[in-house]
Amino acid sequence: MISRRLGKEDSATRSKLLDAAEALMVEEGYAAVTSRQVAKRAGLKNQLVHYYFRTMDDLFLAMLKRIEEGDLGRLKAAMVAENPIRALWAFSSDPKGAALILELWVLGNHRKPFRRHIAQYMTRLRKRQVKHLARFFEGRTPEPEALALLVANLVVGVSRPLVGETAIGMGEGHGEILSLFEAYAGRFDPPG
């Protein structure tokens, strides 16, 4: 196989194409993410899509990589907060992120080889969340790592599905669960 020259990873055009693909994912679903549609949405020529991405699978992988980099950056910034438990709730309640993750999940159901990549992304992200929380729990509990694993799953696991409900206008019960979360999270607020 002859290796073909591909466009640079830091190119503005490439990132414009990824923006367009993400927007299509969220608004119309993965089935709408074709080279023609992506180019049209970005206001660029069709051929440019394949100049930057050999295949649509490569484009999806690049999208996932960019999402992960963004998430890890946002997470790092969020977790320096005085109360990282509240910060994690806010982090996983980002509405844009939730719609995109849901669409990546169903993309993985449709293209099974892609599923592994999503699982790896989620695993790395959760591990990072656990690491931040474990550092916070250090000295407060005998087993910071075990508590961090549990808290990360409880916080992300309860908040994430709520975002999807909110997105379609369903808020029934959200106030009650939020008050329960506040009661737990409040225990870790700095004094004063």
Partner: protein
């Protein structure tokens, strides 16, 4: 009775066969796999029959959703009649194939307005059914506040759905710890009579 419609009758066995085939395709291969041709092949029927029963694929998706909601409400009501309804509710939402179909429908609803309205209304209905059943149960166990029933419902539904969605993917960091915690929490509802420990362990009263 369906009258004045030029499409197939709602009670037809063929129509049911198409809906069931579509549900399977959707859960196993994703919503994009549900095309007229694939659906017909998978149901062992002629492609024209798909459009005889459903004008558009959107009509079919809506019908799948209606059926899922009807079945959910029936199953939930039955689950609520068991000895530990909280555990039964957890088990209901933790079934991977059923969860996969629901995740697909939710994703579709993000891009199809007609489906979004229906999903929103049905989620409200299901939450109300669950909360009223849980409220009745918790009252009999000494917890009268409806807000507590709401919290139990949201916590169970959200967390079980989240864990099963990760489990299907194969991303399970911390699931062992979380499952152990959940199992211990669910166990408090076993048996009968007033609950003998705080509903929310470690939360300030």
């Amino acid at each position: 009775v369906v009258s004045g419609r030029r499409i197939g009758a709602e009670d037809s066995a063929t129509r049911t066969r198409l809906i069931e085939a579509a549900e399977r395709l959707m859960a196993e291969e994703g919503y994009a796999a549900v095309t007229t041709r694939r659906l017909a092949t998978s149901a062992g029927l002629k492609p024209q029959l798909v459009h005889y029963y459903f004008r558009t694929l959107d009509d079919l998706f809506l019908e799948i959703h209606r059926r899922v909601v009807r079945e959910s409400i029936e199953t939930i009501r039955a689950a609520m009649r068991t000895d530990n309804p909280v555990r039964a509710l957890w088990a209901y939402y933790s079934d991977p194939p059923a969860a996969a179909l629901k995740i697909e429908l939710r994703a579709l609803a993000n891009h199809r307005k007609a489906l979004a309205d229906y999903v929103q209304r049905s989620l409200v209905t299901i939450r109300k059914v669950q909360v009223s059943c849980l409220h009745r149960h918790l009252k009999s166990r000494g917890i009268a506040s409806r807000a507590e029933a709401v919290k139990v419902d949201v916590a169970v539904v959200s967390l079980s759905r989240f864990l099963v969605s990760e489990q299907i993917l194969g991303a399970t960091v911390g699931h062992t710890e979380t499952s152990a915690f959940v199992e211990d929490w669910l166990a408090q509802f076993d048996g009968s009579g007033p609950l003998d420990r705080p509903l929310w362990p470690g939360a300030p009263a």
